[in-house]
């Protein structure tokens, strides 16, 4: 009898465990299939006439993207315009405007694929604190996405389609990715922006874009002071910024050599050194940039094998770059925003100076001197051009 009772209990136990396992089969509470969500890949934020926020969202249409290439043989290339859907909403805050998008799509919005967030110049000048706050709190956003400023309306960047990429957001992202890899664009991610916004030692910056007709062009860097746009740097200044802030090579440099003609130089950043001193209520800073590289073009005959001529060309490049970089720093001092990271270096390595000054003001008054040390290592596949 006892044995039988035990067996029944054993069976009951097994049944209970089996039923318990049944619970596990129901899957994830949050499960949501990929076709049950609407991915937003880019968002543009503009200032509306009445002071509200104008939001433009870019949503790729998977069916159009997949079928566009092979389906219509004639107009296949021009299918770009239909491969994304553009939705405009308006709201008093960023989140309110985002919420309104949901009323116009059938699936749940998903922001995990968000790669570009564009701010109109007008809005950026007024400050983007509220948008930044919302982005910070958002669970799905990545810190590796790119925030950009667009001259004019940011919405234009959303609706602008190119033949090179089906999804405009991808186009912008690849453009920045490769610019960073090639060395002529700074890697300014959203995370970078957040970090610099909370830091007292370095001001944030974004890339600056322009939409001209059907063209999307990178025009340089937008320097921020806090959350407000302080000024724009053009492309040449941007490449100097990269070298001075020890981030990248800054891309090719074309310059006039004496009265003879032009030369193009492809640099590789080696090192940048900083030296700070504090005298007479003013911070003195010396920046030494070391670069090396090769000559990629000469428009006039020049014998680089000759040591003297070789060195003369190096000095010419040094002088020109030092001039450009100093001008760039002066421009930033005029904006009153230190996006170079001089403040961060003062705080880290010359803390005694940092304690004495208020860097926000000290940067504008600082005496900054930029020096270059250029080494021309080689001159491409051509050793000597026609005399």
């Amino acid at each position: 009898m006892r044995k039988k009772g035990r067996r029944i209990i054993h069976h009951l136990k097994s049944l209970l465990i089996a039923l318990g396992c049944l619970l596990l089969l129901s899957g994830c509470w949050d499960e949501r299939e990929i076709e049950d969500r609407t991915s937003v890949v880019a968002i543009a934020v503009d200032k509306a006439d009445d002071g509200h926020i104008l939001l433009t969202a870019q949503i790729p249409l998977p069916l159009k993207i997949a079928g566009g290439g092979g389906g219509t043989s004639g107009g296949g290339g021009g299918g770009g315009a239909e491969s994304v859907k553009i939705i405009n909403t308006k709201g008093r805050t960023f989140e309110e405007a985002v919420g309104k998008i949901q009323y116009r799509v059938d699936q749940k919005l998903f922001f995990g694929q968000l790669t570009v967030i564009a701010f109109g110049k007008e809005l950026a000048k007024d400050g983007i604190q509220s948008t930044i706050d919302a982005l910070r709190r958002m669970r799905q956003t990545r810190r590796l996405m790119y925030p950009v400023v667009v001259e004019g309306k940011a919405a234009e960047l959303m609706s602008q389609t190119t033949d090179l990429e089906k999804i405009p957001a991808n186009f912008v992202r690849n453009m920045i990715d490769n610019g960073v890899r090639l060395g002529f664009l700074p890697n300014l991610t959203l995370g970078q922006f957040f970090t610099r916004l909370s830091s007292k030692a370095r001001q944030p910056a974004m890339l600056n874009f322009k939409v001209d007709g059907s063209k999307i062009i990178v025009t340089g860097v937008a320097a921020f002071k806090g959350d407000k746009l302080a000024g724009l740097l053009n492309r040449r200044e941007t490449s100097n910024l990269l070298r001075v802030s020890k981030e990248n090579s800054g891309g090719d440099i074309t310059l006039r050599v004496g009265g003879k003609g032009m030369a193009t130089f492809e640099p590789k950043l080696v090192d940048t050194n900083y030296d700070f001193s504090y005298e007479g209520g003013k911070v003195h800073s010396r920046i030494m940039v070391k670069i090396e590289g090769e000559v990629t073009e000469l428009t006039f005959p020049m014998n680089l094998k000759n040591k003297k001529i070789h060195e003369k060309l190096e000095r010419t490049v040094e002088k020109e770059l030092a001039k450009q970089s100093t001008k760039m720093i002066q421009e930033l001092q005029k904006f009153g925003t230190d996006i170079v990271g001089l403040g961060a270096r003062v705080r880290a390595f010359h803390n005694a100076i940092w304690e004495k000054v208020d860097w926000d003001k000290a940067f504008s008054n600082a005496d900054v001197e930029v020096q270059y040390d250029v080494k021309i290592r080689r001159s491409g596949m051509e050793l000597k051009n026609y005399q």
Partner: protein, 419 residues
């Protein structure tokens, strides 16, 4: 020729293995209440996996809040202080082999004539530890639940996550201590490797300017930072119980490794987050460690977004922490109760405590209160760190349990209990 040789070798091998066996047997305490020995490796794993838990998700923020750029130094110093506490616990355990802290505290504090007096005086101390462990377990579960809900599974109710977690703890409770320590040993790599991996990889975004000046901070502020870092190491106090079963001879070494591993891991994660974000940005982040993963490019690693995977793996780390603590709570409770069937008592206590734990988990009304209360538990922990030292001092002064061979110990016990 060769056969003879082989036989000879075999004999030697057998002799060696026999010797090993013998020495192991010798090391085993002969007390009938201890059925097994925790090896030194297992005890290191037990300490490490109890310390490393949900705290890693938030650790860098409090670390840099006070100590700023020198946060990782504060973590290191915190670890060193903790090492001394661990040393005291180990020495105490060595003095009373085969006896847990529940069993010897009464003897230590009480008077020689009556055992009950000692037990009564010891009771508040024991209860304090038990409540602290329970609080730590509850805080770990809630913290982790919040992290899951806010980062990975926004639609899942917190109650479901916590409920399932607590039920899973029950599964750990019905097995014996031997299984627990092996469980900890097996899972150790799962706890150590992810943080190491993530921290080292994220250093590609590190900026030197974020970690200098390293020694600018004044001493008093720095010490405050060290104290706040010591909160992160709680949990190892459960060794007051389990040191009783640790293999004799290698205890100090095992404890050192057990503390060194989490210290190393903590330093890595604090250093990486401060180097990547800077201390100012860290104060804005609710879950700095998850944020670190969000800002690091892992695209070469198949998964581009690794934070969900990390949280999934991290369930294990939190499970070992909460599991060990819960086990310690029920184990100690069962030992306090005047019963011989400690195993059964432990299980029933666990079952009864589950609803209490569930209620406690939802006691903090929001995340802010949770962080605040975790801090209070941290302060309680500071008091708890002092107690092993006091007990050790008492043991030395009153010349109790010299940590001498077992025979000696037994004689003393006999003298004590024979009348």
């Amino acid at each position: 020729m060769t056969f003879a040789r082989l036989r000879k070798i075999r004999k030697v091998v057998e002799a060696i293995t026999n010797r090993n066996k013998k020495s192991q047997i010798n090391q085993e305490p002969k007390d009938p209440s201890t059925k097994f020995v925790i090896t030194s490796r297992e005890s290191s794993a037990l300490i490490t996996s109890t310390i490393i838990g949900a705290g890693v998700l938030t650790l860098p923020r409090p670390a840099s809040e006070i100590a700023h750029q020198s946060a990782w130094l504060a973590t290191l110093c915190g670890g060193i202080v903790i090492f001394f506490v661990m040393w005291a616990i180990t020495k105490l355990g060595l003095r009373f082999p085969g006896k847990t802290f529940v069993e010897y505290t009464g003897d230590l504090i009480g008077i020689k004539r009556s055992e009950t007096v000692g037990k009564l005086v010891a009771l508040p101390i024991l209860l304090f530890f038990i409540l602290m462990w329970l609080g730590m377990m509850v805080a770990a579960i809630r913290l982790f639940g919040e992290a899951i809900v806010s980062a990975v599974l926004p639609e899942t109710p917190l109650e479901v996550i916590v409920g399932i977690f607590l039920l899973a703890l029950l599964a750990l409770l019905i097995v014996e201590l031997e299984v627990i320590v092996r469980f900890n040993e097996i899972l150790l790599p799962v706890i150590i490797l992810p943080v190491t991996f993530v921290s080292v990889l994220s250093l590609q975004n590190a900026e030197l300017t974020n970690i200098f000046p390293m020694f600018k901070i004044d001493l008093f502020t720095f010490l405050k930072g060290v104290v706040s870092q010591m909160f992160a190491y709680q949990g190892f106090t459960i060794m007051l119980l389990f040191m009783a079963y640790v293999q004799r001879g290698k205890n100090v070494g095992a404890s050192t490794i057990g503390i060194a591993l989490p210290t190393f891991n903590y330093i890595l994660i604090v250093f990486a987050t401060v180097a990547v974000f800077g201390f100012e940005e860290l104060q804005h982040l609710t879950w700095p460690t998850l944020e670190l993963m969000k800002s690091t490019d892992f695209s070469f690693f198949i998964l581009e977004r690794i934070e969900s995977a990390f949280v999934a793996i991290w369930v294990v780390a939190v499970y070992t922490t909460a599991g060990n603590l819960f086990y310690a709570v029920c184990f100690a409770f069962a030992q306090i109760l005047p019963t011989k069937k400690e195993d059964t008592a432990r299980k029933w206590i666990g079952v009864c405590l589950l609803p209490v734990a569930f209620w406690l988990v939802f006691l903090p009304e929001n995340v802010y209160q949770l962080f605040q209360w975790s801090k209070y538990i941290g302060y309680a922990g500071l008091v708890a760190f002092a107690i092993p030292f006091v007990l050790l001092l008492l043991a030395v002064i009153r010349k109790q349990g010299k940590g001498a061979p077992r025979r000696h110990e037994k004689k003393r016990q006999k003298n004590h209990s024979s009348p």
